[in-house]
Amino acid sequence: MKKLYTVLLALLVSAAALVGLWSLVDVDATESVRENRRLAQKPKFTLSALLDGSYVSELETYYSDTFPGRETLLDANSALNKFYNFSGKEENNMLVIDHTNNMGEGGQAMTPVDPVVPEETQPEETVPEETVPEEPPAEEIPEPNYEDMEITNLGAIVIIGDRAMEIPTATESIIENYAGAVNNIHNALGENARVISLVTPNSGQFYSPKDMHSGSHDQQAMIDLCYSKMDIDVVTVDAYSKLEKHKSEYLYFRTDHHWTQLGAYYAYTAFCDAVGWDAVDLDTFETGSYDRFLGTMYHNTSQYPQSAVLKENPDQLIYYLPKADTTAAFYANADIGSSTNTTYWTYVVNAELPETEYNKYMCFMSGDHPAAMITTDVEGPVALVLKDSYGNAFLPFLTSHYSRIYVIDPREFNQDGKPSLDLAAYVAEREVDDVILVNYAYAINNAKYVKWLNRLVGLAYD
């Protein structure tokens, strides 16, 4: 018996030791396609990092991120999750996962391998192409910080059937603070520019079971509350009613948390109603499509068995090309036109996304960047848009009305290590007529987003 014990033990211990050795000498993966993120890198050793414990905790994350055979083990974990996330028969496909505090800290951007230069004449602010550095700006997107561990937003992700949805939970104080931030911006700008606020519901409001869009999950109530706290001079856009009226149409993706461009179009018609313009007729746009789009909601739930149904039923993304002649570019900071600010040419709507880009929503403005500018051949006013990524699909419609549109990502400014931006001075300098805020219900419940907005006009959130 002793021999048997010894053999088995030697087997187990040497197997574990070999895995350990392998983990130390193997080549580490740096990116996970499945999770759409860069994996943790080996932390730099410093005495202070060791003493405050951050070295070891980063080392643990790095070790687990680069554990040998991680991809295979993740596949196995999806199988194991059939036990932990049971939902019976396939027609009963249902999943709830906690989404509290999981609101992203930053935007998602396409990595521009080769900056795209359109054929059209370049606007005067352009910087010669050769100044484009080899480092793509996506590298500059910071790691999320964990300084605020308190709850910043509440919510859940649910899958019901072949649709995944985010279900926000209202935190009234945050919503009121969001409205307050819009008022702060309005006050800071004074007479210089009109402020227009568009808050849109997400798919949860229209396609979830009733108790997921009523009570504390009622996005209509959230938007009403938010608008009611805004100054009378702020133009509020009732996108809700239009979307509600057309909810039987393909307004939202089922595998992504965004609206389709059709959804954005109905919000645009509401926008036109609010400012007294005629909306361009939907039929007159030239369209195209990307098939087999699996979005963020699929990727975020890909470890759960319920996501299989999403994978079998991908979305189709139909885009509407701007009617005006447009040039668009994005920048690492808001100092658009400065010779130190690199220009990355892109499209308002990109009809030729590379096959490798899984996230087809990137076709709109190449995703979220600190700053972007669209110039059109339309003779019209100048707009500045503060937005979350819902704004990206909405922007193309504005090109029919504005001669120039600045796009600013609020989170990218006035924080540690980020460029500073005084929104009021910026608006005055660049003769902006309309400042437009486009956000969805999840963002107006996010304390951090409110903080970012306030910082644009020099106010601390707390």
């Binding site: 002793k2 014990y5 574990a16 499945r34 036990f83 935007g107 998602q108 108790d211």
Partner: protein, 475 residues
């Protein structure tokens, strides 16, 4: 470091086992264990490892001093008093200072700066272990340990260092000098370790995710069913987590030749609260019994006061927050009631009903334990009796219930004696009087396969828990 991490399982533990078994003498083995234990502690607490060493130094020194003052009863008493005071002071400063100052501020309106002291991991365990030594030396129940290495080993042994059980010096005094672990001991130790690992990673951690989702999002909008389900999952989480940790400690101890006492004996099978506390975290309740309750006079004089002291301390030991005191007092009240009426209650109420009532009382206890915020606790208790802001049941909770149905069933079976009975029957079937019988070999091989399976599943789950598409989840 924690047991449930990839670095522990694939680097630390294999390295430690290999180093340990290449050492021939007990002294060399002890040195290996101490070295690995200090690395283990310093891994998470690079600064507080000095505190651990200081605690070891003080208690070791006090032991020696008491040994020198053999006949001088009064001086020995002062040494004991001094060492116990230092141990308790360390505990108060590093664990309760923040709570005490902020409570003082709240009560008096003062605004003293609240000290921000991070809790040194395991301090509640290692100071108690050290106290069992000095008190037992004083009582003459154990000999003075003259070897600093052995005393350091006793306190810092990584298997029980950060989450117990509280091993009394008396129980392993001899094993520090000489111990043997046969191949069978090592094998069974590993099986026990893997059982604990599975309880922690495959059950407790998943149960905690459910409980967090249901109880951490603010109780204003909680539902009746959701609150009950959340607290129930916490009841499973804390049992599988804590008893799993004890299993791992006992298993590792056995691998190194230490025989630790059992710390949990199916506590959720108890029929009374008295019985529950004889089965739950036994090393803690027996510590309070032998080192606080009985010295205070036990049940011979002012028993009520003694009980009140013991249960207040038991409550506060679990954490620096007043809800833990409330939790301790809750059990004080229940135990006092039981002492008076249990005889009649037992006659009047059939066994299954007593079991159900007991589980309910324990569950309410865990509710008090879970919520460190009294307002949230109030809302949770109100929700449990029907006054829930979110109504009786929501679709979200319904889906949560469905998603976690299988986990719930396994948890329920896991707290009953059933797994052990199956193991015992299997053992009996394979029992044989021959030393080298095939049946015995089958038993060993199947246990091995079980052990490897659990470790593999735990690894998968650990890697899976690092899956974080959310990290870069964007608007």
């Amino acid at each position: 470091m924690v047991f449930s991490s990839l670095i522990f399982l694939y680097l630390f533990l294999p390295a430690c086992l290999i180093a340990y078994y290449f050492c021939k003498t007990v002294k060399a083995k002890n040195i290996v264990l101490v070295a690995f234990s200090l690395v283990f502690y310093a891994w998470g607490e690079p600064v507080y490892v000095l505190l651990l060493l200081a605690s070891v130094g003080v208690n070791y020194g006090c032991g020696l001093l008491m040994g020198k003052l053999e006949e001088q009863e009064k001086k020995r008493k002062w040494v004991l008093f001094g060492s116990v005071a230092i141990n308790l002071l360390a505990l108060v400063v590093f664990k309760y200072a923040g709570l005490l100052v902020s409570s003082f501020n709240a009560l008096t309106g003062a605004s003293l700066p609240v000290p921000q002291i991070a809790l040194p991991i395991g301090i509640s365990f290692f100071t108690f272990q050290a106290m069992t030594y000095v008190i037992d030396v004083y009582r003459g129940q154990v000999k003075v340990q003259r070897s600093a290495l052995k005393f350091l080993l006793y306190i810092s042994m990584f298997p029980q260092l950060i989450a117990g059980p509280i091993v009394r010096y008396a129980d392993i005094e001899q094993q520090l000098d000489e111990r043997a672990s046969t191949a069978e001991d090592v094998f069974r130790g590993l099986v026990r370790f893997s059982i604990g690992l599975g309880k922690k990673i495959l059950l407790a951690d998943h149960a905690y995710n459910v409980c967090k989702a249901l109880l951490d999002g603010g109780m204003q909008s909680a539902t009746v069913v959701g609150t009950w389900f959340g607290v129930l999952m916490f009841m499973f989480q804390i049992y599988f987590d804590f008893s799993g940790y004890s299993d791992m400690a006992i298993g590792l101890g056995r691998i190194f030749g230490f025989k630790y006492l059992e710390n949990f004996r199916l506590p959720y099978m108890s029929l009374s609260i008295t019985d529950f506390w004889r089965r739950w975290h036994i090393s803690l309740s027996s510590f309070f019994r032998d080192y606080v309750y009985i010295p205070l006079g036990g049940n011979r004089k002012h028993q009520m006061v003694n009980l009140l002291v013991v249960w207040s301390l038991t409550g506060l030991w679990h954490g620096a927050s007043w809800n833990f005191l409330l939790w301790g007092l809750y059990f004080f009240v229940l135990l006092v009631i039981e002492k008076r009426y249990y005889g009649r209650y037992k006659k009047a109420v059939p066994k299954p009903a007593r079991h159900a009532i007991n589980l309910l009382l324990i569950l309410i206890g865990w509710t008090i334990f879970y919520f460190t915020d009294f307002a949230e606790l109030g809302r949770a208790l109100a929700a449990m009796i029907g006054f829930a802001g979110g109504g009786f049941l929501s679709t979200e909770v319904k889906i949560q219930l469905l998603n976690n149905l299988l986990l719930l069933l396994v948890c329920i079976v896991g707290v009953t004696p059933l797994p052990r009975i199956i193991g015992d029957i299997f053992g009996l079937l394979c029992a044989s009087s021959e030393e080298e019988s095939t049946k015995k070999k089958i038993y060993v091989i199947i246990s091995f396969v079980f052990c490897v399976t659990v470790i593999a599943l735990s690894t998968i789950s650990l890697v899976g828990s690092g899956f974080s598409a959310f990290l870069y989840y964007r608007f």
